[in-house]
Symmetry: C2
Amino acid sequence: MGVFEDLTGSFSKLPGIGKKSAIRIVNWLLKQDKMYVQRFAQNLSVLQDKIKPCSICGAWTEADPCPICSNPLRENNVICVVEQSQDVATIEAYGEFKGQYHVLGGLIKPLEGIGPSQLGIASLLARLKDGQVQEVIVATNPTIEGDTTALYLNKVIKEQSDIKVTRLATGIPVGGDLEYIDKRTLSLSFRGRNTF
Amino acid sequence: MGVFEDLTGSFSKLPGIGKKSAIRIVNWLLKQDKMYVQRFAQNLSVLQDKIKPCSICGAWTEADPCPICSNPLRENNVICVVEQSQDVATIEAYGEFKGQYHVLGGLIKPLEGIGPSQLGIASLLARLKDGQVQEVIVATNPTIEGDTTALYLNKVIKEQSDIKVTRLATGIPVGGDLEYIDKRTLSLSFRGRNTF
């Protein structure tokens, strides 16, 4: 198999890229600046060696502990628990949360054989033992797996401490339209209604 | 800048990939098999050295001349002219054309300053001089630029020879619906109508 077919095959395995897009990308790459392509290849080849999970929070990082865990200016009494490393970037981009993070690396999915032991839950419980943390904000997505994992976390944290466990609000997104909102979101937005 | 940001930047430059998809891809790559990522990086790094335009037809190829130009079983009395290398793969996939190809590497676009001299037109005219080719099929897309380029090719080929110059039929695609077809396609499908 030639370089073209082999590289097209590698690109088409990436999430969101099909066979046709992969061919288009490789054809496009052939016409690009050599420096750009070489730097691209170089970074790709060192990626997995340079980036490892943070030994504290589990987020992907080049430096261990990660820049957030090693930042003395972050609040250390609150931990936001997320499904994956990307979620940390999403919440950081919004910029208002100043606490710590903990990455689970997945959600409890009994049908796929993923249980609590395969996720970063033991390491989270260990982090909660020194008594500094007063609140754990569970920021998993409002899906069945996200809800299951949140309930499980609440249970195991409550078993070992009296730390407050909260969950991001579910409701109608800003700019959303009642007409197009699903029943479950509407039901949860009623239950979670606020007084003025 | 770290490897993560740098690689995300490289991915987001690719056609059809935005910033968010790039982040998603790099996060995904971190969890993949090391062999796959290393092979991906290796192929990417040698791509531009190994793949060059064929000295006869201009299509990207690892071997020069390309497998089509060097295949003695292909008909050598007909040349199909296409805009880009990918179009050769598309026509080959359909599998009924058995002649030669010629890749222009673009279309005449006066507004972007691309004229005939920047395209593989001189090399096409040179190929037509030995008298073997009896027909040139212009397979540029039925767009303004594709039409302009086709008309120009017809003119310059006719100036130097009496080789037949044809163009792929424009009309209603199979499975198409008259109701949703644009006026120009409909007009061209009337003009190009066939007898039973």
